[in-house]
Structure formats: C-alpha cells, structure tokens
Symmetry: D3
C-alpha cells in the first residue's frame, strides 16, 4: 500500500492541461494532476468592488468549490461557503494577485472560478496552476478587446503540495498520501523562483526546521516541472 | 441570423454522451447537446430522508445548478438556491422517480447532481437525459454491491425542449432560439411513449391548442432520437 | 369516498369572489373555490427592479405563500422561500405578465401577494384568478391617480386545475382528489381562449396524448365558468 | 383631524370577533378592532421542544407577522424574522403562558399564529385577545380528542394599548394616534384583574408616574370591555 | 439560600464603572454591577441610515450581545440575532435616543455596542448605564473633532431591574434572584426623574397595581444611586 | 514614524497575561500584546460532534471573532462568519489539537472562544497563546471534576507573527507594521521547539528562502519569551 512502490518520493503525478476547455468565458482551463481534475474559468466584468471604485485600479479574485460528485462522499453545494473553501479561495486569489499589476488593469474585475471536478489530493494547488493560465488567457482576450493597453501579468505563478508520510518527505500528495500525512504543506512560487505562499500544517506530529527545508526543496522540483508546461501553453 | 438557415425546424443538434466521465460516483455521465454541456453524477447513500425512515422505501432526488463559467455572464454560486434552479431540480427529480420503483430500492437514496458546464439552451432537458443514464449506472453498481436484489428502473425517461419562434414551431431550441421564442415547452416521455411532464409557457404571445399539438409532435421526434442513444449506452 | 358521488367529473366547486376585501392596498380580492381560500393583495410602488431602471417599462410580480394555519399540519413561515412556493410565485407572475403591456405601465411595479388562508387543493390556480382581479383593480386605482394614461391590461387571465384520478379525468381537484391523482395539471388561459401555461405532471403513472387532450377540454369548461365571474366583477 | 372629535379619550373602537373563522386548525379566531384585523390560528402538535422532552410538560408559543398587504406600504415577508415581530411574538407567547398550566397539557405543543390582515394600530394587543380565544378553542378540541384530561386554561387574558397624544391620555390607539403618540403602552391583564405585562415606552417625551397611573386606569376600562366579549364567546 | 441574608431588598450590588476602557472607539465604558460585566463601545460614523439621508438628522443605535463565555453554558455567537438580543438592542437604542437631540447631531451615526463579558442578571440595564456614558464620551470627542457644534445630549439616562421573588419586591436582581422571580421589571429613567421605559413581565404569577407601585419606588432608589456615579464620571 | 526608532527588529511588545479573568468558564485568560487585547474563554461540554460519537475520543475547537469596538472602524458582528475569521478559527483549533491527546479526553468537547477586545496587529497569534492557557485551565478543572483521569495536554503551544517591512525582517508586527509589510508570517511552535504551523504570505513582493529562514529565526526568539510566561502561569 506504500506510495513508494508506485512513484518516487520526488516524482509528480502526470499533469495534463487543456486550454480553452469551454467557450463561454475568455479563460477556461482544465487541469488534471493524476486523478485530480479542476476546471478554472475566468470571467471579466467591467466593474470593480465598491472599495476600489474611482481608484483606477482593477481586482482579481477567485472562488474555489468542490463539485457534488467530485468525491466518493457527496459534497453538499453549500459547502462552497464553508471555512475550508473560503480559505482556499483566499489563497488562490492572493497567489494570482501577487503576479498581477492591478493598476494596469483599469477598473476591471476578473473572477477565476475553480471547480473541482474530481478530488484526489492537491486540489488547491492544481487550482492555482489552472487559474493562473485562465487569468492569463482572460487578459489576452481583454487586450484584444482593447480593454487594456498592456498585459498586467508580471510573472508566472505555480503551486504544488508536499508533505511528510511515515517520516518521509513526499512531493505532490494524492488523497491516499494526504490522509496518511503528518505534515501537509502548500507552496506557491513565481516564475523567478521567489515564494508567494508557504503554508505548512502539522496534522499529526509537529516537524523540525530540517524537515521544512527538505519539503521546500521538493516543492521547488515540482513547481519547476509544472511551470514548464505553463510556459509552453502561454507561448502557444 | 435565422435558425432555419442552419438547421431544419425538426432537426436536433448533435448529441454526444460519455458514460463514466468521472470515477468517484457510481454514475457519471457527460452530455453534449450542441454547445450545451451537462455533467450528471449519481451518488448513492445508505440512508433515506426522515419522512421515509422505516418505510422500506428508497428515494431519488436531483439537484441542478449552473457552473459559474457556464454562461458568458458569470453565474453566482448561490443561484443554485434560486427559484429557477429549485424548479428545475424538482422537474428532474420527478422525471426520474416516474420510472423508478422506489420500494424496490430499499432504504437507499440516490442524489443525481446535474451541473451545467456550458449553457446554450435546453439545459434542463439535457440534464434529464444524462441524469437518467447516471441513475441507471448507479443502480447497476448497487446491484453489483448487493445493495439491491433487482434494478428498480422500470423504463427509460427522455426529455427535449421545443418552442415557437416567429410563429414557427421548432425542435431543440438553442440559446438564440430560446431568447426569441414566444412559447417555450419542455416535454418528458417514457420509453413506452407516455408523457411524464408537459410544461408549456407563453413567454410572449399565448398559443393555441393546434400549436400545442404541433409542439408535442416535434418533441416526440427528438425524444425518439435521444432515446436510441440512451438505449445503446445502456445495452453497452 | 369517491369524488363522483359528490360532484360530476366536469363540475367545478362553488366559486365566490370578494373584491375590496381589505382597504390598505389598491387591489384586494378574496377568492373561495370550495374550501380553498386565497387572499390576493396588489401593492403599487413607484419604482422598478434595478434591471428595468431607465427603460420606461414597468414590472408585475407575485409572491405566493401558505399561511401557517391554512393546512391541518402547521406550515412553517419560512416555507415561502421553498422550491414549491417559489415555483408557484413564478407561475402566477408569468401568467399576469402575459396579459399586461409592461411598457404602458411606466416605471411602476405591482406586487401581487397571494396568501393561502385555507388550502383544499387548487391553491395556485385560485391564486391566479384572484391575482388577476387584484391587479386589475390596482391598475384602475393607478389610472385614477394619474400614474398611467391607459390601463395596461390587455386581456383576462384565468386558471384551473385538472387531473386523472383512478383513470378518470376530473375538473377542479380538491385536496382529496389531489392526493389520489396520478396526473396533476394546471392550465392558464386568456379571455380569448389562448393558452398561457400548461403544466402537466405525472405524479404516479405517465399519461397518453389522448388523456392530455381530455384534460385540456375539461380545463376549458372550468376556465369559462370562472371567467364569467371575473368579467362580471370587472364590469362592476 | 384630532382624535377627540371622533371618539372619546376613554372610548374603544368597535370590536368584532369571529370564532371558527377557518376550518383547518382547532382554534381559528378573527378579530377586528376598528380597521385592525388579525387572524389567530392555533395548531396542536403531539410533540414539545427538545428542552421539554421527558418532562411531562407542554408548551404554548406564538408567532406574529404582518401580511404583505396589511399596510399601505408593502410588508416584506421576511420581516416576520425582524426584531419587532420577534418581540411581539414573545409578548404574545408569554401572555398566553401566564394563564396556562403547562404541566396539565402533557407533552403537547400549541402554536398560535397571529397574522395581521390589516394594520391600523394596536395589532399586538388585538393579537393577544384573538390568540387567547384560539388557544381556548384548541384546548377544547384537545379535550374532546382525549389528548388532555382537563383544560389547562387557568384564566382569561386580555390586552389593550393606551398612550399619550398631545399630552392627553388615550385608550386604544389607532395608527394615526400611534404616530402622534409621545408615549405608547401595552397592558395585558388576567380575568381576575391582575397585570401580566406592562410595556410603556416614551417614543418622544418621557412621562411621569402620574401619567403612568392614568394610562393604567384607561387600560383597565378597555380590557374590561373586551373581556366581556371573550367571556361571551367562551360561554358559547 | 435566600437573598435577604446577603443583601437588603432595597440594596444595590456594588457598581464600578471604568471610562476609556479601550482606545479604539471614542466611547468605551466597562460597567460591573456585582458579577455582571458589560463593555459598551461607541463608534461614530460619518453617515446615516438610508431613510435619514438628506434630512439633516443623525441617528443613535445599539447592539447587545452576550459573549460566548459570559455564561456557564456557552452562548452561540449567532444568538445576537435572536429575538431576546434584538429586543434588548431595541430597548437600549430607544433609551439612548430619548435623551438625544438627533437633529443637533448632523448626519452622523453613533452605534453603541454592548457586549456582556459576564452575565449575572441585570445585563440589559447595566448595558443602558454604560451605553449612555459611552455615548456621552463619543459626543465629547465629536465636539472636539468639530463634527458637531454643541452636545446633542439632553439629559442622563439610567436603568435598573427590579422584581418580585417569593412575594417580596427586590431591587437589582442577580441571576439567582432572576430565576426565582415571579415578576421581572426593567425601568429606565432620565436624570430629571421621568420614565422612559417601564417593562414589567409576569414570568410566573401575575401582579397587582400595588406591587407595580412598590417596584417603581425601588427602581427609583437604584437609579438615583447609579445616576450619581454617572454624573461624577461625566463631571470628570 | 519608523518602527525601528521605537523597538528593535527582534524585540517583542510588552506581554501581559491574566488567568481567571472571568468566572463563568473553567478557562478564562486575557492576553495583552502591546495594545492588542484578546480574551480566551474555554467552555467544556459533555458531548462531542456527531462524527465523533461512540468513538471514545474528545474534541477541541476554537472560534475567533473581533468585537465591534476592537478597531477604529466598527466591525460588524456577522463578520465572525467571514472567510478571515473562519480561517483564523481553524488555525487556532488545529494548533491546540496538535498538543492534545484527544483520546485521553473521553467524549468531551472544549470550545475556546477568542474574542479580540482590541486589535493592534498579531491578534491570531495572541489568541493562540491565550487559548492554550485557557484550554490548560479547562482541563485542570475537568480533572478536579473527575471528568478525566489525566490531563490530555501533551505540550505547550505558542505563536508569534513576523514579517518583512521595507526589506527588513521584524518580530511581532503591530498594526502599523502589518499595513506596511510586504510579507506576513505566523509561526506556531510546541514547547519542544517543533513547528506546528508556518503560514507565510507575500502581501506585496514575493520573498526568498533566505528571508524565510531569517523570519523563522525571529519567530523562535519571540516564542521563547512568550513560552516562559506561559510556563510560569501554568506552574502557578
């Protein structure tokens, strides 16, 4: 039952990304990381939240939700309002904003909806990866529509989960790993290799500084690999 | 811009159905009717609503919701609680129950979630068609798991929308037709050709008995075609 | 216990309508259809919903709710937000709007509240009948107040329920009929005899085209009778 | 426009009470105090709130709400949850319980719903008067049904509003009085003449002990008159 | 266990008031009445509710809530929305407004939040006493900030609870008294000795006019003592 | 106005902790970190959430909320349900559970409510520190009451915030620091010096691995100092 028999500790699950998955929104990206599937759609609106009106600045926000059939135990629709979903939505939103020049957007709002089609661990980091691409495509559309003069995207943003299972540091936890993990950590990095978010939580045993370092190293490996895919898709 | 130039009045849009679209629920069916895409997942739970406890009877229910990026105007997540969504959820649930022997289920509940991935008209009838297949597959799984002795499915159920645009009766309205329609009608029929639901609404001009008859004829044509697809998939 | 012993299959329950039942709103109509009692009050406001502002057009909407003591099992007050109530509210609103020239109203909104005082079957169709009269009276008041130049009412609208009980098609179901019905159908027609809404639902057994036709015939008989009463009251 | 021209300071508006107004609940009483109309229906349930289970004691509660068309400015349905409605519901409930032997009820709950059909001042005190009669009738029914051995009603309860308008103490304020009142006071008394609730509020100017005494005297006059009507109806 | 052994029937619990308890709001007052502790903070905003906009008048409102750990049975946070809390919030707001010239405020709103840190009876009257001081301090600050030309405070307002326990009229009920009380009464008076609110409720036995008078006398004694403290603090 | 003029980059604000601040709950701790003030009360209930029933295990949970007057801009009471508050509540709950043996509790639930009396930065870490002490005291009480055989507390837990302001790594951010920070980080450690939570967020510029290390060093310094205080209080 051990993970190590199937995949090396520093190996990612297969990643597949489809741009333009649906047609209704200017950004629409489906990502598969192993059996985890997330659809990110980016909608552009010609308005900003009240507290930004008349500041000339735009806004980027995200909403994360699990679809009812995404898990083998049915997920209630109102769960998108629960603490976990809100927390993940906030994480995705902050990650996106960290690489966007909001002032260059004008008074425009982009909402990136991240709906988990199938959940097998690492949904929030998969969501960040797809959301950034959907956001990128939405800005590309906005440029074509002359809503903006230049793309407000400053850099790439990429995320991966790592953790400690049975004392071993592992990259890209699937659900089986996640349940067994004593430490769960999500890392978000820019294309230049700087950190945007580090969220490490001891679900079971607390962890040492040395373990934290090893986890950050592993995260860097995974982020590098996903980032290559993102770059290719953006380069078109 | 007229519909007639692209598709005959009695012609369906291309229909494509994928069984087993996701892996987490025993039933998972993706349907595409033209650009309309709906994912139906059927979750089985070993309990029934309070009012059915200790009756020996099961329950089948449905929830319909549009995904935020399914339309070119972003759909708010809380809209699944709105009147329109609740009304459609009830229609789907009733349609499914009309062909299920609830007593043969035992005290088991199946919830079929119908999430609109992309909306281009006819989402509720597409949902009925996919939901019935997902329900069928969920019961097949329950049989294998020995949760039931025999399948409680009594018949097929199939739905299609029809309407009147510029005085002409049309089969399978897409969004452009829908907006222009003076009358909008949804028809649900069993495999034996009996009616389960007839919902005709004059959005603009009221309509005559003759027009109602013509619309029912058209609905029969469409339902026949979708039914063949459903039968093939069930036959495996 | 059979219905046939008390009332013929094509016979209505006694109908009684009181105009000006209360004094606070310009329209206030109490309708009794057998033991079913509904109070419809029409309130006029000098504003329209946001999406109609600056269009010059008015709006007519309805809210349906059962009073807590209207049934022998107490109805919770928050049930007006439930799926069934919302669905019926929408049906009443559409029916009223089908015979109103919204543009002729100016930016005025009429809300017709339909509160079920006592429920014995057919509450939604009783509500439509009373609501139309309350709306008519509200517009008459608005004309007197010079809020409008001409009445925006284009035609009468009348509704009745029909259904199939023990294989027999019946007009104007009371609660005992309703519980026993295999098919339940609501029909809304204009004064000119055109259809506005046809909502037929198989609660138990599905039904044939022939049965649908017979039900529409019966509905026509009932609507004719109620329409005469409405016309008399409007003629004053 | 002064009140004094129409009605003496110590004169009540005409009071009319109809027992058995509707048929679905064992208690159903309509009260008219001038133009104020309230319908009180008492529903009996064979259960008690959780905190009373297994205590052998029953419960009496009340819910007060204004109907949407009861005022010349439309009342939103969700207002029954607002502070004012909750406060009045609590007042009515306490008043009823003050004259009921809850232990003699057994584990039974009576909910008295007080719906304001038309509001012209004094709705909460009108509601108390009707609610007590509806409760009385519900207990009479419960006795007949052998749910209880003896009536748990210990005494009558009656209420009236008084207030100070332009420095003058007035009995039974209508809406016009109410708006002009500097002090508004509701008094609830038992048949034996003891006080159950005294709620005096200075909406404008504070008031003296002498004015409080005068208001209590006036309330006694009104309660005496309404109490005679209640006694007659109970005596049958 | 009798109260009388510890404290005379007409004796208050020790009262202690701290002005400027916290620093974030212009008014912040902590009151201790025996073991009952309430923190009142007054926030000033440069806006008024919609219905007061463009009237030139200000508004004073209050919100009362028990903190989760204020009682030996944990209080749920959403209870601030319950009927009891709303009712008390309304009482505090009315009491404050009865001694404020709203027109002299300009279009400014003061919200006084009364959070019960520890509940041992008499929380609502303790809240009134602290709230008035916090409001006073908020206005003093507003004067310094030149938001107002003169203080809109017309008089002092002070409150105390009284009640009947075992047939004896008592001043300033603590929780043990409160539970045993057959009558519970809250009295709010101005500095000039006029009544603002009298709320007497028979929780158990109804009460006579003589008892009401005795309770009002007791309330006067307590209010006099608290008023002296308030005056001293205001005098600085 | 720079921070460095008042306090060294590695200096904490003065910390003051009061045990037994209120009397109603078995744990009640007030903490002041500079001007930040948080009250943590721990309530013990003889029940567990549904999903733990019949497992023999207990539960520890936390709720965090800002009091309305805790900030110079009034905080709405319903904000305790917002994403930020839920996220912080979850962080506190996880931190506490990381040092508690839930199985040793028996089927008992402790809820630690953390109410921010005054907010000047670092409220969530102050809350963790006080919450752990309140939890400790609640377990001490439960031991005395013979609800448990031995204390389920395995270790101490302590938290502090750090961040980067103008490129400089700072310990224990106050509000002014927080607003100016490009990186904000919260660290939770056990008494043995192991990590429980590391949450680093780039609000502005992303950060390097070296900066992360420097921040962790600073956090260790602060946690050491607070831990000494916690240990002293627990030692009594």
């Amino acid at each position: 039952m051990s993970r190590r028999r199937e995949r090396a500790a520093d190996a990612m699950r297969p990643v597949r990304i489809i741009q333009g998955y649906t047609e209704m929104t200017p950004g629409s990206v489906l990502i598969e990381m192993g059996r985890t599937i997330v659809l990110a759609t980016a909608s552009v609106e010609d308005r900003v939240p009240k507290w930004l009106q008349r500041t000339g600045s735009g806004w980027v926000t995200a909403e994360y939700a699990m679809m009812p059939g995404s898990s083998d135990r049915r997920i209630r629709r109102d769960q998108y309002k629960g603490g976990r979903s809100k927390e993940i939505s906030r994480l995705i939103g902050r990650s996106l904003r960290s690489v966007v020049n909001l002032r260059a957007m004008g008074e425009v709002m982009v909402t990136v909806d991240c709906d988990v089609v199938q959940a097998d661990g690492g949904t929030r980091t998969a969501a960040v990866n797809a959301a950034w691409l959907a956001l990128h495509d939405a800005f590309a559309w906005a440029l074509e529509e002359n809503m903006m003069a230049a793309s407000p995207v400053l850099d790439r943003v990429t995320a991966v989960s790592v953790g400690i299972v049975d004392g071993e540091c592992l990259l890209d936890l699937d659900y089986r790993d996640d349940v067994a993990a004593s430490v769960d950590m999500n890392v978000v990095m820019t294309g230049r290799g700087l950190l945007v978010e580090v969220q490490a939580t001891a679900e079971g045993l607390p962890f040492s500084r040395e373990e934290l370092d090893r986890l950050l190293d592993l995260a860097g490996i995974g982020i590098e690999q996903i980032g290559v895919l993102q770059d290719e898709l953006v380069a078109g």
